[in-house]
């Protein structure tokens, strides 16, 4: 074999603490190495051209590059050797940057370690075999989980691109959090007016199949061919018959049902339609409060329904859909702010969350757009907004900034002045984060044009004065003195947390999530919508806090990734997968049980049973190869022989 070794300086990243010329000199002594040289930037065009030229000139049949992490440039160099006529798997990479130069300063020790890593790579390469990818068909349908604004945008863009979309929404209506908002910053345009048309498009688009009040139960398969089980929750209403007329909601006697769409501000009926522009505009029965379902007596809705759509016997339904890729857009929830005793811990009805306040502002909300405080329905005159409630707070495990609270608080202060001209708003803040397009101008408007009093400091105590007011005590740290405000209503800018159940969904999707439950993108800057699982993309706040413009942008970005994937009729699998040596297999079944992807099946051959790897499903994790008691399963490009060759070399170094 004729091997060429290239040692990269990476400018001074490697050469600063590794003697690259010395490593190259050492490498010339290794078996089969016919050429070793050091290059300033191997990944740059001249560097790659030098590799290609060396392959031709020295008739190389294997290349080692000692440079950065394979996660960064392995695909680059595989393409380089392929261009020069070699198989892309006749290439090995030694990581002498992250594993050597960046973690140690002793140049001599670093040079020795780099030499050893190169020696190991050479030993592996001497045992490498050319591998070929196989191609397989793609099912050009996409599953989008979550129909908030990010999911809706992704769905519409995919559908417009000619892709069949399966859209699954946990709630009874699509729209997510944005549908609950009254107006949106920084333009103060009506949320329902800008989201509504998109929601209608979802309902009417021929390429979109919508499952509302449904959740993803199970996901199997792999990029190009996923199989999805969807649990369609019982709504006790036959949606094929329901026309959304609302007769049932008018007559329903269970009028004290908690209204989750209105964030529990005011009650609703046990059978209800979330809001006038709901999509689908279908009634849903809340089984915990329906008198027929809890006590077996009532049946009023069934009597008044003109189409006979009510079905108290309805059960959950499991639907199976086949798709080629998945976009997760599951959004967020608000943290439980009642841990803060200084804000009353939930005891005072006139301390509300910002999302509750949106419902109070909204014309389709429980107060029909008139700001009435929950305790006595009076119009508040002095309103205190408190920012960073559950954000930037390490002591409760939420050290991150929720990103959009500064902006919506400014918006709510502006709207308050519009609704009640003789009102006065106060905002307690730590820092104002307004770093979007026309965002800072917007917060300045709240202060300068709308007279909102911004107080730099925190609130220490809220208590009722017995005369219907709430006394808000805090500090103005710019003044260095305590301040006190007699408020009629307090609005808490409650922080964001990952949607409930997101870790469970991540496990179904086989993607990673951070310690707060947000899904992990493949690269925080360069692959913000991809995950480390092929064919699974992210959009919206499920990946990290972001506002509506960013969510919409990421929804479109995810759709671009879907359309890019589906632009190919066939996908190639990674040939670094397991395969079974039938001569050694004893059909013990251990590999079948340990495989996390269901990629191994039993097959019969000449009257005997054997394990067989489904090539397109195998992800090459290597669990089966280390489980097999016979050593009958080998992982291509990481075979026992290849690994032992590396270990042997290391032990002899």
């Amino acid at each position: 074999m004729r091997i060429g070794v290239f040692i990269c300086h990476c400018g001074s990243n490697i050469a600063g603490t590794v003697d690259c010329a010395k490593v190259a000199e050492n490498a010339r002594m290794f078996p089969d190495v016919v050429l070793a040289k050091d290059i300033m930037y191997t990944c740059a065009e001249p560097g790659q051209a030098a590799i290609e030229a060396a392959i031709h000139e020295h008739k190389l049949d294997g290349v080692v590059v000692a440079s950065c992490s394979p996660r960064i440039h392995e695909p680059t160099f595989r393409r380089t050797v392929e261009r020069a006529g070699l198989n892309r798997y006749m290439f090995e990479m030694a990581n002498i940057r992250e594993h050597v130069s960046w973690i140690g300063k002793d140049k001599e020790a670093n040079t020795n370690k780099a030499t050893e890593l190169v020696q190991i790579a050479v030993a592996k390469l001497r045992n490498d075999k050319p591998l070929k990818a196989k191609s397989f068909d793609v099912n050009k349908r996409v599953l989008i989980i979550g129909a908030g604004v990010a999911g809706i945008q992704a769905a519409l863009d995919c559908a417009e691109g000619g892709i069949q979309v399966v859209l699954v929404e946990r709630e009874a209506t699509i729209g997510g959090k944005m549908a609950k908002l009254d107006k949106t910053f920084p333009t103060v345009d009506c949320s329902a007016c800008i989201l509504g048309p998109k929601m209608v498009d979802v309902a009417q688009h021929p390429n979109i199949t919508l499952y509302a009040k449904s959740e993803v139960e199970d996901i199997s398969g792999y990029v190009g061919n996923f199989s999805i089980k969807i649990r369609k929750r019982a709504t006790y209403v036959d949606w094929d018959k329901c026309t959304g007329c609302g007769a049932c909601t008018e007559k329903c006697p269970a009028k004290k049902t908690p209204d989750t769409f209105n964030e529990l501000v005011g009650p609703t009926t046990a059978i209800n339609i979330a809001f006038p522009q709901a999509i689908p505009k279908k009634a849903v029965i809340n089984p915990e409060h329906c008198r027929q379902l809890t006590k077996g007596k009532c049946g009023v809705c069934a009597k008044v329904c003109p189409t006979g759509a009510i079905n108290y016997e309805q059960q959950d339904e499991i639907i199976t859909e086949e798709v080629g890729c998945i976009v997760a857009a599951t959004g967020y929830d608000l943290m439980d702010w009642t841990v803060y005793e200084e804000y009353g811990g939930g005891r005072y009805p006139d301390v509300v969350t910002s999302l509750q306040y949106e419902r109070l502002l909204s014309a389709s909300g429980p107060t029909e757009g008139h700001i009435k405080r929950p305790s006595d329905g009076k119009e508040p005159k002095n309103i205190v907004f408190i920012q960073c409630v559950g954000s930037r707070d390490r002591s409760i495990g939420r050290p991150y900034c929720s990103g959009f609270c500064c902006m919506y608080t400014a918006k709510q202060a502006i709207l308050t002045k519009d609704h009640i001209p003789d009102s006065k708003s106060y905002v307690f803040y730590m820092d104002i984060r307004a770093n979007g397009k026309i965002y800072d101008e917007f917060t300045r408007r709240a202060m300068e044009e709308y007279g909102t009093e911004y107080i730099r400091g925190r609130v220490s105590k809220i208590y009722p004065d017995g005369e219907g007011h709430l006394i808000v005590r805090g500090v103005d740290t710019l003044l260095g003195e305590g301040v006190e405000i007699k408020a009629d209503l307090v609005v808490l800018a409650v922080g964001v947390e990952a949607a409930k159940g997101s870790p469970k969904l991540a496990e179904k999707l086989r993607i990673s999530y951070d310690s707060y439950g947000f899904f992990l993108e493949s690269h925080v800057k360069l692959k913000p919508v991809e995950t480390n699982t092929a064919g699974v993309y992210l959009a919206g706040v499920c990946q990290g806090v972001k506002d509506i413009p960013a969510s919409v942008a990421q929804g479109s970005a995810a759709a671009a990734k879907v359309l890019g994937l589906f632009s190919k009729d066939k996908l190639e699998n990674d040939p670094q997968i397991a395969s079974v040596d039938m001569k050694r297999c004893v059909d013990c079944g251990k590999c079948i049980r340990c495989c996390p992807f269901g990629a191994i099946k039993e097959v019969e051959f000449r009257g005997k049973m054997y394990a067989q790897v489904i090539e397109t499903v195998c992800q090459g994790c290597g669990l089966c190869t280390s489980t097999c008691p016979q050593g009958a399963i080998q992982l291509s490009h990481a075979t026992d022989n290849q690994i032992l060759a590396e270990v042997n070399t290391l032990c002899q170094c």
Partner: protein, 194 residues
């Protein structure tokens, strides 16, 4: 701005490091939200607010912080520690600063120091707190004879002010006295004020 603090000269990074080490807190995590100041029940008598004390420590302004009244007027109620979003034991930092100031011989509010000395003297002698003894010692030390005397009748009537010291069983008082002695010896060895 002739009276501006010249940071390049005034900044004492050793002081910041010493406060970190002695209090066991990471002052650099403070991002000046103001929760400590907002909740402080004694803030109205402070010359520097709690968040300003923390800022002074961050900037290494040793003289400004150790000469402040605030560190002596702190009630050690720990509301600040409980509210701090960054888990800083702010009351612990205030206590560390008092110790540091005392070791440096800076006691900006002597009567607080005198009250503590009087209180601890009774504990040293009797093993437990002795209210009347504390009062008398404090009056003698501070020359504030009539301070809070008006409260005495009510406190006496409610049995909150024992005329005799509380008794400790089994030579407890002597045991407590030995703790004080050991502490005094250690302070002498280290050459600091006990």
């Amino acid at each position: 701005m002739n009276d501006a603090i010249e940071l390049s000269r005034m900044r004492d990074t050793d002081f910041t490091a010493a406060v970190d080490a002695q209090s066991g807190q990471r002052i650099s995590t403070c991002y000046q939200c103001g929760n400590c100041t907002a909740g402080c029940p004694a803030g109205f008598v402070y010359d520097l607010q709690v968040n300003q004390v923390m800022r002074g420590v961050q900037l290494g302004l040793k003289n400004k912080v150790l000469n402040s009244r605030s560190i002596w007027m702190c009630l050690s109620c720990s509301t600040c520690s409980q509210r701090c979003p960054n888990n800083i034991d702010v009351a612990g930092v205030m206590e560390t600063l008092r110790h540091m100031a005392r070791k440096e011989g800076i006691v900006t509010v002597p009567k607080v120091d005198k009250f503590w000395t009087s209180f601890l003297a009774t504990v040293r002698k009797y093993g437990r707190t002795y209210e009347i003894g504390t009062m008398v010692l404090y009056m003698l030390r501070s020359m504030r004879v009539f301070t809070d005397v008006d409260l005495a009748p009510a406190a006496l009537a409610k049995g909150k002010l024992g005329l005799k010291p509380h008794k400790m069983p089994e030579e407890g008082a002597e045991a407590v006295g030995r703790i004080f002695k050991r502490y005094q010896e250690r302070a002498n060895r280290q050459g600091v004020r006990a």
